[in-house]
Symmetry: C2
Subunit: 118 residues, 2 copies
């Protein structure tokens, strides 16, 4: 993880090791005091079904950098998203994704910091 | 601009019109209450010199989705960044970029909301 505290910081994708979260899910984290961006690389897809819904008080925006996903959220129709698309999740709205392609990269940003990712 | 208020929202890159900020700079905005993600497409590069430094109280993280840039910030060495790299800017740290390729896409996220972008 890279933490920009007093000065600006850089995270280079090629040199910052990704941390495996579980099989087929690896992440790199860049944070300031109140903002956390998590680059998540998925592999081993497509998935047969979505992840179970989850929720968190943190607000979230996500940029789809590569791959195809189904984005599901309580109160919304499922949406098929690809490169250049984004989604946003207000505080505490249950949501999940299903990986539709072999691999994908999502760029998630949270406020406040996901202390559970530290 | 897409604003996710009570439910999740999606911004599709192909259907959400980009707003021209100035010649060669266009943006699309997705926000929640406290988080704003701005997809910025640059064209007409490379630039002969960096933009003047600017600063804002908002914290910022940026994902380089495509292209090559020079990232400059007070107190740090200039960094040449490409696809998959990121930078983070703490509150009030002066910074700027120089576009090194013909085009580039940056995905900036700010907390709190950039009211000056509304």
């Amino acid at each position: 993880m890279v933490h920009a505290q007093q000065t600006a910081s850089v995270l280079r994708g090629a040199s910052e090791p990704a941390v495996a979260v579980r099989q087929g899910v690896a992440r790199r984290i860049l944070r300031t005091a109140e903002l956390m961006t998590v680059v998540i690389d998925f592999s081993g897809g497509p998935w047969r079904e979505p992840d179970p819904h989850h929720s968190h008080p943190h607000e979230q925006t996500t940029y789809v950098a590569s791959g195809e996903i189904l984005f599901l959220a309580e109160g919304s129709e499922p949406e098929r998203l690809g490169p250049g698309d984004l989604f946003a999740v207000p505080s505490n709205v249950p949501h999940s994704i299903q990986l539709l392609s072999e691999s994908a990269r999502l760029v998630d940003t949270f406020h406040p910091i996901r202390e559970d990712f530290l």
